[in-house]
């Protein structure tokens, strides 16, 4: 049985950890609220963008366009959004797994653009090619960052360096549920058939400039908004995941402390009993 002193020391060390996890939980709770508000505000822009793009694609149907057909290169660019710091439960590793555990992807074909230090560390450890990384973006994403990244990706796509572009991020459903998601950015996927144009108001929408030219201009914006939206959701998810992880850690610490307190009291009682037995035994020997 561990000595009283050992148990006491252990207990105070766990108490110290518990205070840290408690504080981290509070910090992430506050950050989560802000990030969630931001993510919700950006959703409005994104959904309008999505509606417009789908309505254009619906009209033009299956047109030959450079952003709608896969490039000749077999390489795939993947934007991996993770956090810079750990202690967020499975948040980072789940996103990384989307890339490493994908049965259709070969390691040589992947070019990773990582946002967030954890993703970069993990992917280069697995031996993936990390083309570019920018770790500051995920701290507080602004739209200009997303714009820069999407320009860079489009350049690589147009130059034929990569044939497809994916986005690996964590979608924020609600405070407790965050879903690692893999999204295809380019070529823009459009599964639906051109709809019948009967009596619908939007069917007579005209475009200036013409459809194909409009696609040229709108699709990059669409991509930027996707990246931006993914960034916002990832930040919210990160803080949500960290909040949960820290909440678990705090309650685990609580459990351990109760357990140790019990052990300590038992050890104390044991030592008192032992002392008494010794005194009585000594007194008897003398008598």
């Amino acid at each position: 049985m561990a000595s009283m002193r050992d148990i006491k020391r252990r207990r105070s060390s766990i108490q110290g950890t518990q205070q840290i996890t408690k504080a981290m939980k509070l910090v992430s709770t506050v950050k989560l609220q802000r990030a969630r508000a931001n993510a919700e505000r950006s959703r409005e822009y994104f959904s309008c963008m999505y509606d417009t793009v789908t309505s254009i694609l619906k009209r033009v149907g299956h047109v030959e366009h450079r952003y709608l057909t896969p490039g000749t290169s077999g390489k795939k660019a993947v934007v991996v959004i993770t956090s810079n710091r750990g202690l967020a439960g499975g948040y980072n590793s789940n996103v990384v797994k989307l890339v490493t555990r994908n049965p259709q992807w070969k390691r040589e074909d992947i070019v990773a653009y990582t946002l967030g230090n954890k993703g970069r560390e993990a992917l280069s450890r697995y031996g993936y090619e990390v083309r570019a990384c920018n770790n500051d973006i995920v701290e507080s994403p602004v739209y200009a960052d997303a714009m820069k990244l999407s320009e860079e990706l489009l350049r690589a796509f147009s130059a034929g360096e990569v044939g497809e572009i994916y986005l690996a991020y964590t979608a924020f459903k609600n405070t407790v549920s965050h879903v690692p998601t893999l999204l295809k950015l380019l070529p823009v996927e459009y599964a639906g058939e051109p709809e019948e144009r009967d009596g619908k108001a939007e069917a007579i929408m005209t475009f200036e400039p013409e459809d194909v030219e409009a696609l040229d201009l709108i699709l990059p914006k669409y991509m930027t908004s996707l990246i931006y939206g993914a960034l916002m959701e990832s930040v919210a998810s990160e803080n949500g995941a960290r909040m949960q992880a820290m909440d678990n850690a705090t309650s685990n610490a609580e459990e351990m402390i109760t357990d140790l307190a019990l052990k300590y009291n038992r050890a104390r009682q044991g030592s008192i009993t032992q002392e008494l037995t010794e005194i009585i035994a000594g007194a008897e020997a003398l008598g």
Binding site: S42, E44, Y45, T52, M147, E202, T206, E208, L217, K221
Partner: protein, 134 residues
């Protein structure tokens, strides 16, 4: 006829809803030239070019510098998805003037590396900012 001569204008940026109100007319630059929209316009989608956005509310006029994005125009509703847009009081005049000078300089001293299109957009942006402040 007098009852419905306004329409709903919504300007949405990635970070916020920039503006949402009933207006009489809105004017801005597009890739095909300047456009002014009244209620009951033909449904149209246009791409924005840097310039001034002029909102005519029933009582007053409002100006803003609109830099990029696109607009979806329906009969009773106009939605502008703006990537970058600023109210006059959000513009830093000195920065705008500096940016204008820089862009002009780049256009004048044309070297093969100069990205003309980019310098021109930068110039248009700076000019729109300065124009709105006037």
């Amino acid at each position: 006829m007098a009852e419905k001569n306004t329409f709903l204008l919504r300007i949405i940026t990635p970070d916020r809803i920039f503006y949402e109100n009933q207006v009489e007319m809105v004017e801005f630059n597009t890739t095909e030239g300047e456009i002014g929209i009244l209620a009951g316009h033909v449904p149209l989608t246009v791409i924005v070019k840097p310039g001034i956005l002029c909102i005519s509310e029933p009582e007053e006029e409002k100006l803003a510098a609109l830099h990029s994005g696109f607009a979806e125009i329906l009969q009773d509703r106009v939605t502008i998805l703006a990537e970058v847009i600023e109210w006059p009081d959000e513009i830093d005049q000195e920065r705008a003037s500096a940016a204008k000078a820089r862009a002009e300089e780049r256009l004048r001293s044309k070297t093969p590396e100069t990205d003309i299109a980019r310098a021109e957009t930068a110039l248009q942006r700076a000019m729109a900012r300065i124009e709105v402040l006037k």
